[in-house]
């Protein structure tokens, strides 16, 4: 194999280089100049993002251990988009004093996790999948524990690392059985030999539980809320959007390519899990006061919706999933963006604190409202389209009652999203959060989100492009 083949893994390579550059910069920059790293890292990543959009050839590396196609590339770009937004949002936070010495760690960790995800996305074998997964998980724990002096942060860290370790143990147990029954860890070989013998079914279930943990599907979701609440806001948004998105994506790929022969097993599984996930997520979200926790549960519920696309098991299904993830990134980041801005200005993250926010900070409230509406799937924002297409996918596979349950859940979710809207717009408050100016980076991030929310919906080309590169069972 010659050298330019390596350009197939351009995303990962560039990202690795960037990571090293940040590392070196960190070593070379004097302590009280660390904040420069923010600018540096962000710029570098922006470059990476742009590079990512350059056309590139597709193919396999390392004997099909690493695969890349337009679909994978698109997914990586989507993730990059999300990450740049998060980086912009986290500037405010990183500038605070307690972080001034460990700014670069944040970037290192984020980038390395991102590398992990990108490898995971274009994995061609379970080994690569596993490695990517771990690389995406372990630094994440460090990120979660980033605020060294906050109990919650530490607790989040430990909860994440331990349960992740256990889940990955279960995962590779599954993989080991897969290997034992098929004699290979390569997707295409496995796909050839897979059927629904008891052991293979068990292996699949174990593997699925491992993935479900990452996507936080009920009943493997319990870590989610605590970790989301404990971690720093921007880390939470990273967790809830990027890592979840990546895992969901690879799950689709694996289900459609590797386990396509046992669709009759995983379709009912998806059915059960998605109903559970949506319902439980909603029921828990209703009661929440802390916005991060609230969004955690709402994101669990959203994961349930993603499964609707998967169960569609068609080209439309995969398209809708990717599209939904894309939309979901912007919606969630919009919400988290507002939360983080407000949190780092006022240390407030409870719904009650938001009472009368509209009268003091109308713009933020509007962004928040749009983001929440998008999550709830209310037109004209993009979330509506995302949900509608997911439902279409499930419906065209004939799962009408599943769709019905899903839409009812959407209604419930609308209820608690409206609670936040109500707090901001309707509730009276004698000392509401005072007016403040949002920092420029955060502002840009929010603007990107809002634009995204409107463009993605009405600009159908995006959807059609995704469909042109995605495939069904």
């Amino acid at each position: 194999m010659n050298l330019e083949n390596f350009f197939l893994m351009r995303h990962e390579l560039v990202l690795t280089i960037i990571t090293l550059m940040v590392l070196i910069a960190d070593l070379s920059i004097h302590e009280d100049k660390k904040y420069k790293i923010i600018a540096l890292a962000t710029t570098l990543f922006a470059i990476n993002l742009i590079i990512g959009f350059f056309p590139s050839l597709t193919g396999n590396l390392f004997g099909n251990m690493y695969k890349t196609s337009d679909l994978q590339l698109t997914m990586k770009n989507i993730l990059n988009l999300g990450v740049i937004v998060i980086l912009l949002q986290s500037v405010t936070w990183l500038k605070t004093d307690e972080n001034k010495l460990k700014i670069s760690e944040f970037y290192l960790l984020v980038f390395s996790t991102l590398i992990g995800m990108q490898f995971m996305i274009s994995a061609g074998s379970f080994l690569m999948l596993y490695l990517g997964l771990e690389l995406a998980t372990i630094p994440m724990a460090a990120l979660a524990a980033y605020d060294r002096f906050r109990h919650n942060s530490a607790e989040a860290g430990i909860k994440l690392i331990l349960s992740a370790a256990m889940s990955s143990a279960v995962l590779i147990l599954g993989i080991s059985f897969i290997y034992g029954t098929t004699g290979s860890t390569y997707f295409d070989t496995v796909a050839m030999h897979y059927s629904n013998t008891p052991l293979q079914t068990l292996a699949f279930i174990l593997f699925f539980s491992g993935m479900a943990f990452k996507i936080s599907l009920v009943p493997f979701h319990l870590w989610t809320a605590d970790v989301y609440e404990g971690s720093p806001v921007n880390v939470t948004s990273y967790l809830s959007v990027i890592s979840k998105g990546a895992s969901a994506f690879i799950l689709v790929i694996v289900l459609f390519t590797v386990f396509n022969s046992i669709a009759m097993i995983w379709k009912p599984l998806m059915y059960i899990i998605s109903v559970l996930t949506m319902t439980v997520g909603n029921l828990f979200a209703i009661r929440q006061q802390n916005l991060k926790r609230f969004l955690a549960f709402s994101s669990i519920a959203q994961a349930g919706f993603i499964l609707l696309g998967i169960i569609g098991a068609s080209e439309i299904g995969m398209t809708s999933v990717v599209y939904f993830i894309f939309v979901y990134i912007f919606s969630n980041l919009g919400a988290f963006g507002v939360v983080s801005v407000i949190y780092y200005k006022t240390q407030k993250e409870c719904i009650d604190d938001y009472d009368g926010l509209y009268h003091t900070n109308p713009k933020l409230s509007l962004v928040m409202m749009l983001a929440l509406f998008s999550l709830a799937g209310i037109p004209p924002v993009a979330g509506y389209f995302g949900k509608f297409f997911l439902f279409t996918a499930a419906a065209s596979a004939g799962y009408y009652w599943l769709v019905f349950i899903a839409v009812l859940n959407a209604t419930i979710s609308l209820y608690y999203y409206l609670l936040v809207v109500k707090a901001m717009f309707i509730n009276k408050n004698d000392q509401p959060i005072a007016y403040f100016k949002t920092d420029v980076p955060a502002k840009i991030a929010l603007i990107i989100c809002v634009i995204g929310l409107f463009v993605i919906g009405f600009y159908s080309t995006i959807y059609q492009y995704i469909q042109s590169i995605s495939f069904g069972l």
């Binding site: 037109p379 297409f389 009408y400 019905f404 839409v407 209604t411 609308l414 109500k422 717009f425």
Partner: protein, 500 residues
């Protein structure tokens, strides 16, 4: 040029205009101008439509525009109108126009108020011009959501509760609706070919009866909830009671009509076999809500509650007529939608104006208002008479058409429910007269009411607009009912095709 899309564009532009507006005054003026244009456009549309028809254009839908949107799901932005949609559009334009002036003096966050109000109307207009189920549903939801803020922020009484209840119930309805629509979509090509959301194309194919049996109830109830179908109507009293004037006007006047309109444009037109089969269930439900609503209204004390219940009764009549599934009855249904839209809007406008002066809506606390505010009093009496179906006002025409249409059925069941529905006119008279008597006539109960001033110019404008519309329909109904009737023909044909 694409006249229909302007119906959506103008409101959007108006909203943008309001956003850049400096002070409340400009806000009001901009919205007034925008909706005035809309009204003119609607009027123009009516004449353009009639002109086309007289020119012998017998296409099912006129002014068609069709842009591919999501090619791979075969979703189009596809608009077109027939007589029915034209009528509904005209109604909407009138009500919105009146609504703007009825809420002329909103002082709390006026900008946001008018924005939400006009967004709502955008949704409604879009709904009426859509021929594509996707966009139709899109506009439907756009129309429903601003309601939450409108009631929640500018409402009165238990507004949060009411707003939440209304939104959730309507959204629950749209849940059913969505499944129904997707069901129709996935069955829209039983013998191969591309699935489609386009109503006209779906109308051509014959959806398998099993599918129809499943999706007709979903679709009908989905729309029925918005049309205040018993027993899913309970959002309406609370919602109307808490909503600010203009919102009650729009909601009862126009938004509830989306239910009736969709019920036959989607549920019955696209799923005729199941409609024929299952109509009896819903006929019973609707005839219940006709009488039930009227009885419920008799004992209410709050003006808005009275109206809400009477709306339940009248809108029940709409669905009732739609389910009768013959030309005359459906014609009546549309007429009833329009007439009820106008007169209930008038009612709510007047109630708002009266409330603004007396600061109470309890009829037992008022009396003799005719003496102090004759204009409003007379207007209220006219609205009341329209509502109890006085000839020469729109209500009479609509109700009579419905009754005679419904009575064309020869079997006992339809006859009996018709007579039940007819009996509602007496009950209506009872509660209307009760209100009018308690509110306007008799001696003035409360000394503070002695020197309340009569309607302001903008209030008069808003009121007179509606009254003129009501009287116009009531006095010369023929052109309207013909316009609707001819457009009903395709639906009737489709129904008559499958009558066993």
């Amino acid at each position: 040029m694409d006249i229909l899309s302007f119906l959506v564009i103008i409101p959007v532009l108006t909203v943008l205009g309001i956003i850049i507006a400096k002070d409340p005054k400009h806000t009001r003026i901009i919205s007034a101008i925008g909706m005035g244009l809309q009204l003119i456009l609607a009027a123009y549309l009516v004449f353009a439509y009639l002109g086309e028809r007289n020119a012998g254009n017998i296409a099912e839908m006129l002014f068609r525009q069709d842009y591919m949107w999501y090619a791979n799901l075969n979703i189009h932005y596809s608009v077109g109108v027939d007589g029915i949609s034209v009528a509904m559009i005209a109604l909407t334009a009138v009500v919105v126009f009146a609504g703007i002036f009825a809420s002329w003096k909103v002082d709390f966050l006026p900008k946001e108020f008018f924005i939400s109000l006009i967004l709502l109307s955008t949704g409604v207009f879009g709904f009426f011009i859509s021929l594509d189920l996707f966009t139709m549903f899109l506009f439907y939801e756009i129309a429903v959501i601003p309601m939450y803020l409108l009631i929640g922020i500018w409402g009165s009484g238990p507004k949060e509760y009411a707003a939440m209840k209304l939104t959730l119930m309507l959204m629950g309805g749209s849940a059913l609706l969505l499944v129904g629509i997707l069901g129709i979509y996935t069955n829209s090509a039983p013998d191969g070919g591309a699935l489609t959301f386009n109503i006209l194309e779906i109308a051509k194919v014959h959806i398998p009866i099993e599918a129809q049996r499943l999706f007709f109830p979903m679709t009908f109830i989905g729309f029925g909830i918005l049309g205040a179908l018993f027993p899913f109507h309970t959002w309406s009293p609370d919602g109307h009671a808490s909503a600010p004037t203009a919102v009650s006007m729009l909601h009862a006047g126009v938004l509830m009509k989306l239910g009736g309109y969709g019920a036959f444009r989607v549920a019955i037109f696209l799923l005729p076999d199941a409609a024929q089969e299952l109509s009896w269930i819903f006929i019973i439900l609707t005839s219940i809500s006709v009488v039930y609503g009227a009885f419920g209204a008799i004992v209410q004390k709050d003006l808005k509650y009275i109206n809400a219940y009477s709306s339940v009764s009248h809108c029940g009549l709409v669905l009732f007529a739609v389910l009768m599934m013959n030309k005359t009855a459906m014609d009546g249904a549309i007429l009833q939608m329009i007439s009820h839209g106008l007169m209930t809007a008038l009612f709510f406008a007047l109630i708002g104006m009266i409330y603004g002066r007396t600061h109470t809506r309890m009829i037992n606390e008022m009396g003799g208002l005719m003496k102090v505010m004759p204009f409003l009093g007379v207007a209220y009496v006219i609205a009341g008479l329209a509502s109890l179906g006085l000839p020469g006002l729109s209500g009479f025409v609509a109700e009579m058409t419905i009754f005679f249409g419904a009575f064309q059925h020869t079997d006992v069941f339809h006859r009996v429910v018709t007579i039940v529905a007819v009996s509602s006119i007496v009950i209506t008279a009872v509660y209307i007269l009760r209100v009018v008597g308690a509110l306007l006539f008799g001696p003035i109960k409360n000394p503070h009411f002695e020197h309340l001033e009569d309607a302001k110019w903008f209030e008069k404008l808003s009121t007179v607009t509606l009254i003129l519309a009501i009287a116009a329909i009531g006095i010369a109904p023929l052109w309207l009912s013909n316009m609707i009737g001819t457009s009903l023909q395709p639906i009737i044909d489709k129904l008559s095709m499958i009558i066993p």
